[in-house]
């Protein structure tokens, strides 16, 4: 019996120590900035900052931070924004915990969550609590379903699937089409489902469909051989750029060079450190954002991002940047003060977002408008990678 007491003493003591440390750390670190001014609007968000999906969460965190800093610097006497991003490890349970923590810390408007499954879980809680949420990147339909308070800044998965299928049917009617998708991923399966039904609606058939389960670093030769044997010369890749780069490298080694068609998750492939970008030549992708655009605002953003974080921003960062501006503009339109409560702000923001005269412009689109279902009105652009740059088709 005694052995157990010892064990517990140690566990309890160490845990208590950690708690004490956190309490101290919290007191000295954050309180200054978050409770400094009177005219402060608290923005919160959750996203994966650790684990395999960490790059998306980090991009959102950084992108939003840039926008917040810009807004605060531009108008020091106006509404000051505070941005707090909590880690959800790309997990629904942790995301709800993170959301609750943000509520405890006085969040007034939410920007997030970053990924679909956590966002779906958070959306239900936010709906019950009345928190207004604008997600930069959670594109699954379940995020907005039945939640009048949740809005998406990215186009939804089904829309991407449909748009891709239509584009391929129109412009590549003579190609034999195959798909490799990630069947353990919400985003990928969501796009694939709609792509398949839309593509096969006109009587066409997908020549080969292969999947992989979440492991970005797997051996894809089996899938690629199946594509090759089916005579596929256009592979639709509704996946993120990390496994895509792996697929392209392996296909190239096999001497198999089909046309690739990606969706918005493909954005980022050109800036993948160590990736032979010549392999991505001729890749088609749907994207709302390109860091190579001549647009002045985009260039300013890319430069600021590179200066601050040492990386070229991916689409997630741009989406988050736009989210902050959209939320900031909409909040100004509500006419509420920063002392308003979360629920009061929520109702007012829903009103503004669904009103016909509100639109937001940013890096990813001009004049974005939202419907009552929370979906954004945005047309996906098809780009082709030529000479290491995106060229709009």
């Amino acid at each position: 019996m005694k052995k157990n007491w010892t064990r517990f003493l140690v566990v309890a003591l160490s845990v208590m120590m950690v708690f004490a440390m956190t309490a101290c750390g919290g007191g000295s670190g954050d309180s200054g900035s978050s409770e400094g001014g009177d005219n402060v609007l608290h923005l919160g968000g959750t996203g994966p900052l650790t684990g395999p999906a960490a790059l998306y969460g980090t991009a959102v965190k950084n992108g939003a931070q840039l926008a917040v800093d810009e807004i605060n610097a531009a108008n020091p006497d106006g509404v000051q924004l505070v941005w707090d991003m909590q880690d959800d490890e790309h997990d629904a349970e942790k995301a709800v915990n993170a959301y609750n923590k943000l509520v405890d810390d006085g969040m007034q408007i939410m920007i997030g969550s970053v990924t679909t499954a956590p966002c779906t879980a958070v959306a239900a809680e936010a709906n019950a609590n009345r928190t207004f949420a604008l997600t930069p990147s959670a594109s699954g339909p379940a995020v907005t379903e039945g939640n009048d308070n949740v809005f998406q800044l990215c186009f939804s998965d089904p829309n991407q699937g449909i748009a891709s299928a239509e584009y391929i049917k129109q412009n590549y009617a003579d190609k034999t089409v195959g798909v490799i998708y990630n069947n353990a991923d919400n985003y990928s399966s969501g796009i694939f489902d709609k792509f398949k039904s839309e593509y096969e609606a006109g009587g066409k058939q997908l020549a080969a469909v292969e999947a992989f389960a979440d492991d970005a670093n797997a051996d894809f030769t089996a899938q690629l051989n199946s594509m090759k044997n089916a005579g596929v010369d256009l592979i639709f890749l509704p996946i993120y750029y990390t496994p895509a780069s792996n697929i392209m490298t392996q296909a190239n080694k096999m001497g198999y060079n089909p046309t690739y068609f990606g969706v918005d998750g493909m954005d980022g492939i050109l800036d993948l450190e160590g990736f032979d970008t010549s392999l991505a030549e001729g890749v088609l992708l749907l994207t709302p954002f390109t860091p190579y655009s001549d647009d002045e605002n985009v260039q300013k953003f890319v430069k600021a991002y590179e200066d601050a974080f040492g990386e070229t921003p991916i689409q997630f960062a741009a989406d988050a940047y736009d989210c902050v501006y959209a939320v900031y503009d909409a909040f100004a339109k509500t006419g509420l003060g920063t002392d308003a409560g979360m629920d009061e702000i929520c109702e007012a923001m829903i009103g503004v977002f669904t009103s016909a005269d509100f639109s937001a412009s940013g890096l990813t689109a001009e004049k974005m408008q939202w419907n009552a279902e929370g979906e954004v009105d945005k047309t996906p652009k098809v780009c082709m990678i030529q000479d290491g740059k995106y060229v709009e088709q």
């Binding site: 010892t6 064990r7 379940a142 399966s189």
Partner: protein
Amino acid sequence: MAEKRFKMNTKKLLKGAVKGSEYKKEALISYGILIIGYILLQLGAMAGMIGHNLQGQFVPICVYVSLAISLNLVVGISGELSLGHAGFMAVGAFTGILVARVLERSLSFTPLILIIAILAAAFMASIAGFIIGIPILGLRGDYLAIVTLAFGEIVRNIMNVIYFGFDSNGKLRFAFNHTIDGVANQDRIITGAIGATGVTKMASFTAAALLTAFTLFVVLNLKNSKQGRAIMSIRDNRIAGESIGLNVKKYKLMAFVVSAALAGMAGCMFGLNYSTLAPIKFNFNTSVLVLVFVVLGGIGNIWGGMIAAALLTVLPEALRQFADYRMLTYAIVLIVVMICTYNPTIKARVNMFMDRFKPKKKKAKTGKEAA
């Protein structure tokens, strides 16, 4: 080492069989922790002293505590290393969600739906436990561990290709491998890797605490029953157990299936606490997480596992102030705590330190027992 443990445990077992005093003490502490914990948290929540963050974790804490108790049945009491507990949790969770979604259409009394869903989850999980248990319980030690790991991964993999939904006539449709036609988005129940969406949140703190109490009741009673003592004697010496006519397979299977059923119930509660649930949740990491609770709490020590589960569930949240260093800190705390609680030298030092504050009557005895 093994011999020592056997001796000590036989002593305990005999004592337990004769007096049951150890059982009473263990039961008292375990139920005590649960009841006091429940009352404190409930009062704290009512008084507004507990924030959303902790309140939101009430149900998961209960679920993890239940899981720790049920895994202890296999790891601690039956003495088999299981790395696939999340698999049973997954079976229970998705069964529960499916049943709840179907019942929701005709029943409106939530507690009843919850109870039926949990029973269905227990049923399916115990079948899974039975199917996997029969062939593998002949395996020993780490080989059994790897098979349970394999089982957990297989369950998750299969979940990735299962589709359930209602069609426009309200009939339940099932498909394997691909989308089901004629099912609108909002009528999907389980969509492969996307998992379950549109789940009504039915779990509550009270329901979860009751489930924990039930789990505790089952495990403690089993532990103290004739069967429980048989299971423990097989753990301590399989051959000796066989020689006195114990049906080793039967008893091992019993522990395994009961544990699976309880894990399924906890999984169901977990699933009905969030609006969405993806199969990826039930990967190897979750199985390991529960195992960490059991080991940290002291293998076979029921209430130890309960406390470890509760503390370690809250810990990552408490570490949020560390921002980027959060999970690193968690890893370090885990390693340090493991070394501090299991390292013989440090343990002895702590013991010596503790003895200064304790009445001295037991000191001589422990010295002998350790030798």
